[in-house]
C-alpha cells in the first residue's frame, strides 16, 4: 500500500510539497510507518532530518492521534505532527 504522510511544522520545511509517500506492507502499524519515514527522511534529507524530533512526533488521522501499536488499516493519508505550540 501507499501511504501519503502530510508534514507539519519543522517537517514541512524539509519538503515544500508538504507530504511524502511511504510504501508499506498491507496491515502495517504506525510503528512501521514511523520506521519507513525515518528511512526515507535519512536518505532524502540527510543531516537536515532530526531523528530526535521524529521520536517525539505523533501520527494522526483527521480524527485522532494514533499510537505506535495501532494498525493503519484503510487509511491512505495520515499526518505527522511534531510537538505543538498553539496559542
Amino acid at each position: 500500500m501507499t501511504l501519503t504522510l502530510k508534514l507539519f511544522g519543522a517537517f514541512r520545511d524539509l519538503e515544500p510539497a508538504g507530504a511524502v509517500e511511504l510504501e508499506l506492507p498491507d496491515e502495517a502499524t504506525i510503528a512501521q510507518a514511523r520506521a519507513a519515514f525515518a528511512e526515507l527522511a535519512q536518505a532524502r534529507w540527510g543531516e537536515r532530518f532530526r531523528p530526535g524530533l521524529l521520536a517525539v512526533s505523533a501520527f494522526a488521522s483527521e480524527r485522532e492521534i494514533l499510537r505506535d501499536a495501532d494498525a493503519i488499516g484503510a487509511a491512505r493519508e495520515l499526518a505527522l505532527l511534531p510537538p505543538v505550540s498553539g496559542g
Binding site: 494522526a60 480524527r63 511534531p82 505543538v84 505550540s85 496559542g87
Partner: protein, 170 residues
C-alpha cells in the same frame, strides 16, 4: 451533529481577523451571568529575543476535532450549562495581532473561568498547531512544543510530571 452551544473556527490571517466581540456575543445567554474570555496576542519578545511576527501552521480537520474534545472535557468539568467559543489564527501574524480567542459563558463566574482556562490550556498543549517565530534579524524558528505522541507522553509523565514546561507562547 453540530452542538449549538459550541463554536470552533480557524481563521486565515490573510483575510480574517479574530473577533473577541463575536466570541462574547456567541457565549452570551439570558441564563448566563458569567463570561470569561482569553485573548492571546502576538507579543514583541520571547525568551529574550525580539520577535517581529509569528506564522501558524495548523492541521485543520484534526484541530477542529480536538476543539470538540476540549469542549466535551469542559462540559464534564463544569456541567452542560456552558457555551464555548474557540478560534485560532492560521498564517502570518504581526505584533499585537490576535492569535487565539477562547470564551466561555456559564450561569456563574467560577465555571466560566474554569472552562475558559481548561480550553486555552488544551489549545496550547494538545491541538495540532505549530508556531514559527520571526526575529528582528530576519531569521525564524519553530517553537519548542508539547509532544502529542501518546507513547512519548506516557513515558515523560513517568520520568517527570512536566511534559511541556518550555516557555512557548503567552
Amino acid at each position: 451533529m453540530t452542538d449549538p452551544r459550541f463554536h470552533f473556527a480557524i481563521a486565515d490571517a490573510a483575510n480574517t481577523c479574530l473577533d473577541p466581540t463575536a466570541a462574547l456575543d456567541f457565549v452570551s445567554d439570558p441564563a448566563f451571568g458569567g463570561i470569561a474570555i482569553f485573548v492571546g496576542r502576538i507579543r514583541d519578545h520571547n525568551l529574550g529575543r525580539v520577535v517581529t511576527g509569528i506564522s501558524y501552521d495548523l492541521f485543520d480537520p484534526l484541530c477542529l476535532n480536538r476543539f470538540t474534545e476540549f469542549a466535551a472535557r469542559a462540559e464534564r468539568e463544569v456541567g452542560p450549562r456552558l457555551k464555548l467559543y474557540v478560534a485560532h489564527a492560521k498564517g502570518r501574524l504581526r505584533i499585537g495581532d490576535i492569535a487565539v480567542v477562547v470564551a466561555a459563558g456559564t450561569p456563574h463566574r467560577d465555571e466560566a473561568f474554569r472552562a475558559c482556562r481548561l480550553a486555552i490550556e488544551a489549545v496550547k498543549h494538545e491541538a495540532p498547531i505549530w508556531k514559527r517565530e520571526h526575529y528582528v534579524d530576519g531569521s525564524s524558528e519553530w517553537s519548542e512544543g508539547c509532544s502529542l505522541c501518546e507513547d512519548q507522553r506516557a513515558h515523560e509523565a513517568h520520568v517527570h510530571d512536566a511534559h511541556c514546561d518550555h516557555g512557548h507562547g503567552a
